[in-house]
């Protein structure tokens, strides 16, 4: 194992000489995520403020004046505009208006007769401002509708409760920690997989096909180090870089939560409750063989490639597979499919999802762990065997 450690040490020393790569790999995540999260929070807040303070621009065609005064009485939320020229729908699409209401001509008369009248609303559902206008109109009309119903019931001498036989009171059974756990359980395996794979990808290519391209691999092979130790050393380096990248990115993401502004302290508390040492330990334990599996794949593709372009072309499609698996395991109901516990890689994601959702299943976790360890061991054996061949090493 000494030879493998020496090779890994050489790789890390070489990396330490490249300041730019060091910056991008180790410093940038700590600048990037706070900046992204902060910017997203700022934009969301600005959008929210704008929507809260800005009145929706609406046009109301109400010949009998049944609701116009109602809208006019709420200038904070509604700005009544005259009918725009041309097609009304086009005016909404062009965002000259947020919404148009078309009240039936006999609305006031219908109200007096305790009859129903129709209000047509034209909106652009692809525009947030238009949807907000509709929400505001709905709230205003629902409130007014209650007033009218009560007035009608009073006229008939009936109880106001007649039109309201029940009231639904909702209580949230999940505490913030469970909610946060479920979110993390869905996201975390996906993020960990992506970060481990992409984090080790470029370093793997540099240390394998890159060595061939720079004609340095031969100088390593000419030393007294056994060939399988050289291969294992490279594997160790690729794996370490993947794990380091995943941990750094996640740490940076976690530390960036305060930059999200309001509600972040609750999120931090909930996250702290979920991310206890046992959960994190179990997560790390299962990520080790998965990382080894990915690293072996990168190593195999990298060393067999003639140059870095060929290696990149072979390794990059792996990202899509990892993304696909990650997204698949995020889907609702996937955790209920029992057979998925026996599908490699997918079972790791599901085991983690349950771990964070307070539904930890020891057996499923052990199955996923054992299968991934087995897979990583087979891949390592295969890598050292295949890469020991002259054909793979001298391919150029």
């Amino acid at each position: 194992m000494r030879g493998a450690l020496l090779i890994a040490k050489k790789e890390f020393l070489e990396l330490s000489k490249d300041r730019k790569t060091l910056f991008f790999a180790f410093v940038l995540p700590f600048l990037l995520y706070p900046a992204i999260f902060g910017m997203m929070a700022k934009m969301a807040k600005r959008d929210e403020d704008q929507n809260r303070n800005k009145a929706s621009r609406i046009y109301v065609a109400d010949p009998s004046g049944a609701i116009t005064d109602l809208m006019r009485a709420d200038p904070k939320h509604f700005e009544l505009l005259p009918k725009p020229e041309g097609d009304l729908r086009q005016a909404i699409r062009d965002q000259k208006l947020d919404l148009a209401l078309d009240v039936a001509p006999g609305a006031t008369e219908a109200l007096q007769k305790h009859a129903t009248f129709l209000i047509g609303a034209t909106v652009d559902e692809s525009e947030h401002t238009s949807e907000l206008a509709l929400k505001r109109v709905r709230e205003t009309l629902t409130g007014q509708e209650k007033v009218w119903i009560q007035a009608r019931l009073q006229t008939l001498g009936a109880s106001p409760q007649l039109a309201e036989p029940l009231k639904l009171e909702v209580k949230n059974a999940a505490d913030p920690a469970l909610e946060m756990g479920k979110v993390m359980g869905r996201l975390l395996p996906y993020l960990l997989m992506i970060m481990m794979y992409t984090g080790s990808m470029q370093h793997g290519i540099y240390a394998t096909a890159g060595e061939k391209e720079r004609h340095t691999l031969l100088s390593l092979m000419a030393t007294r180090l056994p060939r399988n130790q050289i291969i294992l050393g490279k594997l160790l380096y690729i794996f370490s870089m993947g794990v380091i990248a995943a941990l750094l990115n996640l740490l940076s993401m976690g530390l960036s939560i305060p930059f999200m502004g309001s509600g972040s302290s609750n999120s931090m508390q909930a996250m702290a409750a979920v991310a206890n040492p046992a959960t994190l330990g179990l997560t790390f334990m299962i990520m080790v063989p998965l990382g080894l599996f990915f690293s072996n794949f990168i190593l195999l593709m990298g060393i067999q490639a003639r140059n870095t372009i060929e290696a990149g072309s072979a390794i990059t499609p792996g990202i899509f597979l990892v993304v696909f698996l990650g997204i698949f395991t995020m889907a609702p109901g996937v955790d209920k499919m029992a057979f998925l516990s026996y599908v490699p890689v997918v079972n790791v994601c599901l085991a983690l999802r349950k771990l964070f959702s307070q539904q930890f299943n020891q057996l499923e976790y052990l199955v996923a762990f054992a299968m991934t360890v087995g897979l990583a061991a087979v891949m390592t054996w295969l890598s050292t065997r295949i890469l020991n061949r002259e054909k793979a090493l001298f391919k150029a």
């Binding site: 070489e14 490249d18 720079r214 004609h215 031969l218 100088s219 000419a222 007294r224 056994p226 001298f394």
Partner: protein
């Protein structure tokens, strides 16, 4: 110190046009012996099998047939022991340009299991001999090919190997740097090391090699001191012998 006995090596290549897989016999029954304190020159045109032979001697490739022994170790059975007593340099070899020569030698000292203090002392001594001591702590990114070649030589000799294999050591070097390399080879002979050099530079072979073997189509011709080869072939120079062998080879086909 180096013994090759009926060594064979073949490769399979695929013709991209015809999709037919062909077997190429790169080395066909080569036998030779190089003793300590001797410089053996291996000559031959491109693709004749020189580099393959040298790689097999260095334990980087296994022969398909025959046996190779270096420092008493079989290259197939004890490749690590062979590489431990052997310094190998090839023009194909690059250096890790992110390191300084001193750093590179320190790392390769660890790979070759050399005590760090010894590696430092020996590395600096070699760099001085190769007139590169002033650049010991300069990153190799800006080095010329000659300077990189000198660092590679120092790397190959760092663990004080008894056997030295230099595959085209002066290719791409200027006259002065080439002379430094040749002087180093002479010193190594005086120190009693076994040296094999492959080259295209005939005057260099006549100048420093004790014995010469010429490889054509994977077969060894000659294997005698340069003067004897010239006499037996009635040639004035090794270039002429080379052309004769090329003509014979073409006639044989």
């Amino acid at each position: 110190m180096i013994q090759l006995n009926e060594v064979h090596k073949s490769f399979t290549v695929k013709d991209r046009k015809t999709r037919v897989t062909k077997r190429i016999d790169a080395v066909r029954g080569i036998s030779l012996e190089v003793k300590p304190g001797e410089i053996y020159g291996l000559l031959g045109p491109n693709g004749a099998g020189k580099s393959t032979t040298l790689r097999m001697i260095a334990g980087l490739m296994d022969p398909d047939g025959g046996a190779i022994s270096v420092c008493g170790h079989n290259t197939c059975q004890e490749p690590e022991a062979v590489r431990g007593c052997l310094g190998y340099l090839s023009t194909d070899m690059g250096v890790y340009v992110r390191f300084t020569p001193r750093e590179l030698l320190r790392i390769f000292g660890e790979f070759q299991d050399v005590d760090p203090m010894v590696a430092e002392r020996r590395g600096m001594h070699l760099l001085e001999k190769l007139q590169l001591a002033d650049f010991a702590d300069v990153k190799m990114e800006g080095f010329s090919s000659g300077q990189k070649q000198k660092v590679s030589i120092a790397r190959a000799l760092l663990h004080d190997p008894k056997v030295v294999i230099f595959d085209e050591p002066t290719t791409g070097l200027d006259v002065l740097t080439a002379k430094t390399v040749l002087d180093l080879l002479r010193i190594m002979r005086e120190e009693g090391r076994t040296v094999i050099v492959s080259t295209h530079v005939m005057p260099m072979v006549e100048d420093i090699c004790d014995r010469v073997g010429i490889i054509f189509d994977g077969k060894l011709h000659g294997d005698a001191p340069p003067r004897e080869i010239l006499q037996s072939r009635h040639a004035k120079s090794l270039d002429e012998v080379f052309f004769q062998l090329a003509a014979e080879s073409e006639g044989g086909h």
